[in-house]
């Protein structure tokens, strides 16, 4: 029955794979429907109990943290609601006059003082060119004349934006009165928290999807099946999708609590670049000048959108390490190390050029979450820098994953 073949073997390395589409459905051997492999993979993730526990704890903690952080300002929030209902949402001369006529109270006096002092009457007294020159001087001191020139160029773009915002009356929106900065700070802090939670949870989801097979010793069975190593493509897609869905849940929870807690009339439609809100920088108190016109609602949604890129970048990176390393723990450690290194760089690097170069990674966005879509002062040299950095980071993480996936197709599974 058996005989030895004496000749005829071809040398070598594995021949090119047959062209096979990256289908998520198991290839059909028989006519008729078969239960898609993707559904099985989704089910496996959804039945991961730690996922739901983590989400529930995060939602509860985030809601509590947000409400606790502004609980001390409840009286101001309530007064802001009253004021906007009676006086409107535009801080002009008429508003100021009517506020003066309001019954005397501590809240009225504090609001009057804030309205009259916050960045002055619109942006007219504010000089972005001077601020740009101060940043440029610091960059020249550090020996980066090219960055200094770029910073001065950016200052001219900021000036153009400031003129536009003045023309459309954006700087006169009431926002939340004197607690506008507090609310923005709370939102930015919560955004950073959600990003970190999603980064951790998203990475764990992707690693569970991709790396769990090594843990359960299922890899030989799966890779020897008809679907074979294409299963991992399906798992990556499902895992990354679930990571983004988890982030969406956390983001929706954040928005829901915010909407319920701060029903200040006109807040959601007010421009975030109002003079009621400023940012403290090396050049003193500066207005929050964004590169596009953003309402508060629009800004939050845009932030959540950028946050999704952040989560996607880490999910892609986790998938890459999940394919390259057999140990889920080692892969997770690698993801956390990448994040930690990036964050440390953003916190402790003082040289401007090094900061910009080391900032081409997702943690740049996290570290500057309170300044997204604005001129970002010394932390950015071009408009939309946080968005550009996130797009580049996502792109190189995606490329890394593609390379790892191709390597996996040709890898000996010992």
């Amino acid at each position: 029955m058996a005989r030895h073949i004496s000749a005829g073997g071809k040398p070598g390395k594995p021949p090119p794979r047959a062209a096979s589409q990256g289908r998520f459905m198991a290839p059909r051997r028989e006519s008729g429907r078969s239960w898609p492999v993707a559904v099985w993979e989704l089910r496996r993730i959804v039945r991961f109990p730690a996922l739901w526990g983590f989400l529930a704890v995060c939602l509860l903690l985030n809601s509590w943290a947000l409400l606790a952080s502004v609980s001390g300002w409840r009286a101001d929030v309530d007064y802001a609601i009253e004021v906007t209902q009676r006086l409107g949402t535009t801080v002009d001369d008429r508003f100021v006059a009517r506020l003066e006529a309001e019954p005397a109270s501590v809240e009225r006096d504090e609001l009057m003082q804030y309205v009259q002092s916050a960045l002055g009457p619109g942006y007219e007294g504010w000089d972005p060119i001077a601020a740009g020159d101060r940043y440029a001087a610091k960059l020249n001191e550090q020996g980066h004349p090219h960055l200094a020139l770029q910073m001065q160029l950016k200052a001219r773009w900021v000036q153009s934006r400031a003129r536009h915002l003045t023309a459309v009356g954006a700087d006169d929106d009431f926002l939340a009165g004197r607690i506008s900065t507090v609310l923005h700070g709370a939102a930015a802090t919560l955004m950073q928290t959600i990003l970190l939670e999603s980064m951790i949870l998203g990475s764990l989801i992707v690693l569970h999807a991709v790396g769990g097979d090594w843990f359960h010793r299922m890899t030989p069975l799966i890779c020897a099946s008809r679907t074979g190593r294409r299963t991992v493509t399906c798992r990556l897609a499902v895992g990354i999708g679930c990571a983004l869905a988890a982030y969406a849940v956390l983001g929706a929870g954040f928005l829901a609590v915010w909407v319920l807690a701060f029903r200040i009339p006109g807040l959601w439609g007010a421009n975030v670049s109002s003079r009621m809100f400023g940012v403290t920088t090396d050049a003193g108190l500066q207005p929050f000048i964004t590169w596009a016109d953003f309402s508060v609602g629009g800004y939050l949604c845009a932030s959540l959108g950028l946050g999704m890129l952040f989560v996607l970048a880490f999910a892609l990176f986790a998938g890459t390490l999940g394919l390259l390393l057999r140990s889920v723990l080692a892969a997770f450690g690698g993801v956390m190390a990448f994040g930690a290194a990036g964050l440390v760089a953003m916190m402790f690097v003082h040289d401007a050029l090094a900061y910009q170069l080391l900032g081409i990674q997702p943690m740049y966005a996290l570290a500057n979450a309170n300044l997204w879509f604005s001129d970002m002062h010394m932390h950015a040299v071009v408009p939309w820098q946080e968005t550009i950095v996130m797009l580049i980071s996502t792109a190189y993480c995606a490329i890394a994953l593609v390379v790892a996936r191709r390597a996996y197709s040709r890898k000996d599974l010992t």
Binding site: G12, S20, A26, R28, S31, W35, H216, R217, L413
Partner: protein, 283 residues
Amino acid sequence: MLTVEHVTKTFSGTAVLKDVNLTFEQGVYGLLAPNGAGKTTLMKMLATLLFPTDGSIRWNGEDIIAMDDRYRGLLGYLPQEFGYYPNYTPRQFLRYIAALQGVRRARADKRIERLLGLVGLSDAADRKMKTFSGGMIQRVGIAQALIAEPQLLILDEPTAGLDPKERVRFRNIIHDLATDRIVILSTHIVSDLETIAGKIIMLKDARVLRCDTPATICGELEGHVWEVPSGMPLGDGQRLLSEVQYGAETRQRIWSSAPLAAGDAITPVAPNLEDAFLMTYGE
């Protein structure tokens, strides 16, 4: 027909298999060799988990790597260390494997019922596998290898953890299957191979030593295997193979190049595959 053509496999510069040439047609082939001889490496290459460093493996003349899912679709594989999801029941697990194999759900469910009956797990079909014994897990492994009605079965240590009754059941299953497909199995339990394998492939020093029927292999030792009293000194041209127990008495099985004088204490015996294994691989 499955052919292995001049296949060499090297890991970190060490050749685990060298210039292996084999042809498999319908029937049962047993891989017999000590640990580390390359059995699992060969099986993993047949299952496309490893890639040959040199040479190629072909199914009906076509390279199995190039065939991709067309080859894996006719393959049923039971790895040496069979993994599973502990919170799945056998029914769920087999449905998942069926999905991976592209078997339609309705057809898969019928096959699953039949296979669970075949391996004696019908009563435990809906119990979580984390509650199973090692033998029960192994039986699920055998069932999953058959879910797609493969034309090629590769079973690495399939009887590990099975009790004698289950091993008999397994042998019967393989006997029935081998009538119209290729079955390649490796095991350390030589007696399993003796009863079910049509051909035995022996590996030594990373090469195929021989590929013959059990009768041919054992026939070469005919007249050279004897049972002698325990403790009897061995002379030149004699080798101890094993010891056997008859009640309170222990006797030695030895190989002798020259015939011995048969008597009450010294008896010629029919050589078995274990004798051949020990002669080939013993020191």
